[in-house]
């Protein structure tokens, strides 16, 4: 079955510290992978995406993610977290299928930033 697992429900990081959010996926075909961020009361904003090519992708707001096919993972990283990064982060997977661009989302990881 196609699925996305985000093992960490809630993470707290000190401001200025590095961050890694985990994402594992199960998908039968070549996956297209995404990370979205959601601030309270807002919709989802695309942080970055992986379709093909270089497995290390850069996104907005200083985020990057690395696609590791052997581990079925697409972890999100940031070298130095800012207080404004506190939000909920969703990993999603999609691919060429009957619905075309249907995405499967994980349950999200809530990031808190301490001063």
């Amino acid at each position: 079955a196609q699925s996305v697992t985000q093992p960490d429900i809630h993470i707290t990081v000190s401001e200025g510290a590095s961050l890694e959010l985990r994402c594992n996926y199960s998908y039968g075909a070549t996956p297209y992978l995404f990370w979205y961020v959601q601030s309270p009361g807002q919709g989802l904003q695309l942080l970055l995406k992986y379709f093909s090519g270089d497995t290390l992708v850069q996104g907005i707001k200083g985020f990057e993610a690395e696609f590791k096919r052997s581990q079925s993972s697409f972890n999100l990283r940031k070298p130095s977290v800012h207080w404004s990064d506190a939000a909920e982060y969703f990993c999603a997977v999609g691919g060429q299928g009957q619905a075309g661009t249907a995405l499967i989302f994980g349950k999200g990881t809530t990031l808190s930033v301490s001063s």
Binding site: G41, L44, K49, T101, K107
Partner: protein, 115 residues
């Protein structure tokens, strides 16, 4: 500026009322989606559309209905609201694969409370 708009942002309504959640996009996208999001849970696809006069049900069963009479407009209707419909509803759009983008772009959401 290309964007996705949802109205209202917040709605509190009594049981049995008919409601329509509006979604419009100026992205020029053919595909549009409605997701339901509950706290601590993944987004669940409830409806999607490939284009004008196309509507399909998503993975999560929903008592709502949708219509797509114009490319830019994808309203969601509940004929008789119930407390179980209390949730956040997110609208999204995407281009067809091959049109250069694959990711979904989200509106700010409508938080619905049925009393």
């Amino acid at each position: 500026e290309a964007d996705i708009y949802q109205t209202p942002r917040y709605l509190v309504i009594g049981t049995g009322k008919k409601i329509t959640l509006e979604c419009s996009q100026t992205m020029g996208h053919d595909k549009m989606y409605w997701y339901q999001q509950d706290p601590g849970m993944e987004l669940h696809l409830i409806h999607y559309s490939y284009g004008v006069n196309s509507t399909e049900k998503g993975d999560l069963s929903s008592e709502s209905t949708v219509s797509r009479i114009r490319t830019e407009h994808f309203p969601l209707t509940l004929e008789s609201a119930r407390p179980s419909h209390t949730s956040q509803y997110l609208c999204a759009s995407s281009a067809y694969p091959g049109q250069g983008t694959y990711e979904q772009y989200f509106g700010p959401g409508t938080r619905l409370t049925v009393t």
